[in-house]
Structures are given as C-alpha cells and as structure tokens.
C-alpha cells in the first residue's frame, strides 16, 4: 500500500509542473480564444460584451482576409511543389548521381561538401533571413539580384514593390531556406533503401532517369509524405518573413497578406482582440480541414523492403 502511495506521489510530483505550465499557457488560451472570438472585446473593459457571430460575418466581407486565404492556397501548392522537386533532384545527385563504382552506388564528387553547405540557411532564424533579403531584393543596383540584372543589361525588377511579383519573391526566400533541410531528409531516406535494389536495376540497364522515377521515388514515398505535410504546415504560417520582408507589413496593396500577420496586426496594432481571435479560429479550422484531407489522400500501399 505504501509502495503504491509512494508511486502516485512520484507521478504527481513529476507531472505537476509540466502540466500546470502547459494548461496555463497553452490549453487555456486555446479554449479562451474560441470564446473571445464571439465578443467585440477591445481590451479596455473587464468583461467583454458578447457579439455572437458578428466577427465571423465581418470576416466574410473582409477583402484582406480573403487575399490572405488566397495566398495560403498558393503557398499550399507552390511551396511543397518547388521545395520537394528541387530537394529530390539534388538529393538524388548527391546520393546516387555518381553511378556505381566498385559495386556501390554513390553520389557525385563533393557530395559531402554540398550537403553541409545547402543546410546553411536552415540554421538561420527566419526573421534574420528576412532582413538579409530586404537588402538583397533592393530595387536599384545595390540589390544583389538587380545588380546582376543591370550588369547584364536588363531592367531592374521591383521584387518587393510590384504587387504581382512581391509574394513570389517571398516564396522564393522560403524555398531558398527550406531546400537544404529536405535534401538532408531525403538523403537519410535514400540511405535506408538497400543498395542492391539500385545495383540490380543499374545492371539491368536502367539509366539514371529510370533509376530515379521507377526506383527512388516509389521507395521514398513515406519520406516524401512527411516532407509534404511539414511544408503544408509551413504554408499556413509565413508570419516572420512577411512581417520583416514585405513592404508595409503585408503590402504592397495587401498582396503579401498572410493570416498570422493579420491576426497579429488586428490584435496588437488595432486592439481588436475579438476580431483577431475570430481570424485565429478561422485559421485553426483551415489547418484542421487540411490535416484531415491530407491523412485521407496520403494513405497508400506501403512498399516493403
């Protein structure tokens, strides 16, 4: 009996602090957010007044909100597509692109070096990368890209000032930062595929293209899925980069608006806490809907090896 009691004492002792912290700072705010979203609270009054679904009705007519939703839709398609294809291409070259030597498939010369270098952007904080690219994207010859364009005789491009280009410039930075991580991720996945599968196919006369599409891709399916889900989660964020990098925080003309940034601005610049929380709830339902769909779609026969 005392042994059992001592065990429960130990369990309580170990769980108390983590649970209190977690419930206080994570769970309770999440629950409160749903309630606050139904009020028109502006942070002044002690008790917020109930506004029903007023905030949600207002959302339906909010141009910026819909622009942000469209941008997340674009990110959801473009980000995984670009990052995964570039990363797959490089990880194939780095791990198997060198053909077979001495009965072993290997990467091209210098693969170790490239794998280290490609990962550099991943260890930098997103906000810092944003500030860096603010300078790199400068519209005159002081910008790193426009400097090169002008030297080659082209017109400089307003990377961040042109509403039709601005969001793509931001996607470009996301891709720049993400590729290295997925190269390493896929390299780990490829290392787990038994070498003799490649040997057999190569001896059978399969070229590099067939090796890639008929062997590597199907056997890497699980890892690809994980990458796709990670990038899709990232597609619902974008806060730090857009906040730091874009003109007027989401501009020009709200062309780079993303929901997290709108939530932050609505809450902490305009003190419309009820409305900001409604946006948060909308964002939550979008993520959950996506997660459920993703789980359904991605279920596929697993290839055992």
């Amino acid at each position: 009996m005392t042994r059992r009691l001592r065990e429960y004492g130990f369990i309580t002792g170990f769980l108390a602090v983590p649970v209190i912290l977690y419930v206080g700072f994570v769970i309770s705010p999440y629950i409160q957010a749903f309630y606050i979203s139904l009020t028109d609270w502006r942070g002044v009054s002690e008790i917020p007044s109930f506004a029903g679904f007023g905030n949600y009705v207002r959302l339906l007519d909010d141009e910026v909100f819909w622009q942000a939703v469209r941008n997340h839709g674009l990110l959801l398609i473009a980000l995984p597509l670009l990052v995964l294809s570039i990363a797959l291409f490089f990880s194939f070259l780095l791990n198997l692109g060198g053909g077979s030597k001495g009965g072993q498939m290997q990467g091209v010369w210098g693969s170790k070096f490239y794998r280290v270098v490609f990962f550099f952007p991943q260890v930098l904080a997103v906000a810092i990368v944003g500030v860096l690219f603010q300078s790199a994207y400068r519209p005159d010859e002081g910008g790193i890209i426009n400097g090169a364009l002008i030297a080659l005789g082209f017109e400089p491009v307003g990377w961040l000032t042109e509403p039709s280009i601005a969001f793509w410039s931001i996607i470009g930075v996301m891709v720049w930062q993400a590729v290295g991580f997925y190269v390493v991720l896929f390299s780990a996945g490829m290392a787990a595929i038994p070498k003799d599968v490649f040997e057999a196919a190569a001896l059978d006369g399969a070229g590099r293209f067939r090796l890639f599409f008929n062997i590597t891709l199907p056997l890497l399916w699980d890892t690809l899925q994980v990458g796709w889900i990670y990038l899709s989660i990232a597609a619902f964020d974008g806060f730090a980069l857009v906040q730091v990098l874009s003109i007027d925080r989401g501009g020009p003309d709200n062309s780079t608006a993303v929901l997290p940034l709108e939530i932050w601005k609505t809450a902490f610049n305009y003190s419309e806490f009820g409305y900001a929380s409604a946006m948060g709830v909308a964002l939550f339902f979008m993520t959950i809907t996506f997660a459920v769909l993703a789980l359904r779609v991605s279920r596929r026969e697993k290839i055992e090896f």
């Binding site: 065990e7 983590p18 705010p29 957010a33 692109g97 490239y114 270098v117 904080a125 906000a127």
Partner: protein
Amino acid sequence: MAIKTENAKSAKTPTRAAHAAPRRRAKPNPLTGLAHAALALWGIITVGPLLWTFLSSFKTNTEIFGNSWSMPQEWRAESWGRAWETAQVGKYLLNTVIVVSAGTFLTMLFGSMAAYVLARYTFPGSRLVYVIFVSGLAFPVFLALVPLFFVVRNLGLLNTHTGLVLVYVAYSMPFTVLFMTAFFRNLPTSVGEAAMIDGASHTRTFFQIMLPMARPGVISITIFNVLGQWNQYLLPLVLLADNKEKWVITQGIADISVIAGYEADWPSLFAALSMAIIPMIIVYVAFQRQIQSGLTSGAVK
C-alpha cells in the same frame, strides 16, 4: 523482394558489367557535367547572400548603394563596433543566449520528466494526459496569441525574460513529450527495475539511470529546441514589446533594419546581420552531424 531480383540478375551480370565499365571511362556522361553545374549553382545561391552580407559590412553607404557586386574599397571595421555598442547587438545576443539556454534546459527537464512518467507508469488518466500534451501539435500558436498575451500580463510577467522562458517551455512541450515518450518506451526495463530493487527511489532511478540511458534522444530533441527557440520571433515580439533592454536577436535585427532606414547607417545593419549569422554557421559546422540528424529525426521516426 530485393533479394530475389538480385539472384535472378547475378546470372547474367558479368558480361554486362564488363561492357559497361570501359564505355563509361571512355565517354564521360554529359549528365555528370550538368549535375555538377546544378549543384555548384545552388551552392552559390545559398552561400552568395551570406557572403555578400559579410562583405557589405565593410563598405560605406555610397558603396552599398552602388554596384552590389563590387568589393569594398578598403576594409573598415568601424561598423562592427557601432553595431555591437550603439545598436546593442551584443546585448540582444546575450539576451537570446540567456532565454534560449534557460528555455531549452527547462523544456528538456520538464519534458523528459512528464514523458518518463507517461511512458513507464500506468495510472488512471495517463492516456488522457498524453493525448492532451500531444494534441498541442495540431493547434496553430496564432490561435492562442490574444489570450496568451493577457495570461502573461495578468501574471505580471509581460516584458520579462521569465515570462518568455515559461511560454517557450509550455509551447515546446507537445513535441518534446511526443518524442521523449517514444524514446523512454523503447528503453529496456531491466536496468531501472534492478536499481529499484537495490533501493533507489523513483526519482533517483530517473535522474541517475533512465535519463543517462536516453542520452541520444535527449541530444536530438535539445538541438531541435535550441534551434526552434533561437528562431522565435512572434512570441518575443508580443511578450517583450515594450522593453527594448530585454529584446532577443531576431527582434533586435528587425528593429535595426528599420532604424538603418532613418539613420542611413547601412554598414551597421550588415555588421549586425553578420554577427547574428556567423555564430550560427560556426556552431552548425562544428556540430553538423548532430544538428542534421537532430532536426531530421523528428521527421523519420
């Protein structure tokens, strides 16, 4: 499946291998050249902006607004001094180190304690506690932003490092508990049981036996948390807004980039950026194996 195909092939391999080898040597595949070009290009795209930032910190304002592809005329290091002292990069870096070390240490301590109990003990509600911890992964932090601000304010912890650290710890729990629980479940039970029979308490068994056994997991998740908390921008922006003395590096750099516009001190901005980038690159190159596996272990479980 693999073994079967191997055997089937091996019968006809010798002749083919004999043909293939000399042909390859005689005519180098043009694809290999393209592959190298593509890799080198991406290498330049990755390193280029970082190198350019470093070089720009030695330029003057005029040079910075001139052709971006030129080298600095002379190597002036004054901007580094201004960034460190006037723009307070030194202070921001120190604040970040304080917040991230405290945050990661407490995350790992509390996260492993909770995970250990959830992995190795059965008690009423244990499953529920685990599910609540892990469900946090499904919620975007932006949903909690408004109430979180008021929770921290009501505790009187707004604009303090303590408040930020506690929030970091709380929001790092889901991931840490998920992976540490999986790790503790897979450890052998016999060693811990032997210690208990020898009279060690539950607490002592955890700290002296089980935690050291879980070291590989602890290292991976620590790296993951260090980089995650170092990267944070949203939470400090909301929770430390009014006290510039407490700011972390991401906030500081973003602020310096705004100030650089008013004061026209661009070399300082580049020096500040370099100061934020170089330590991370050095740490990464020194521990690249652990960092790469630490970050990707979350994905390949």
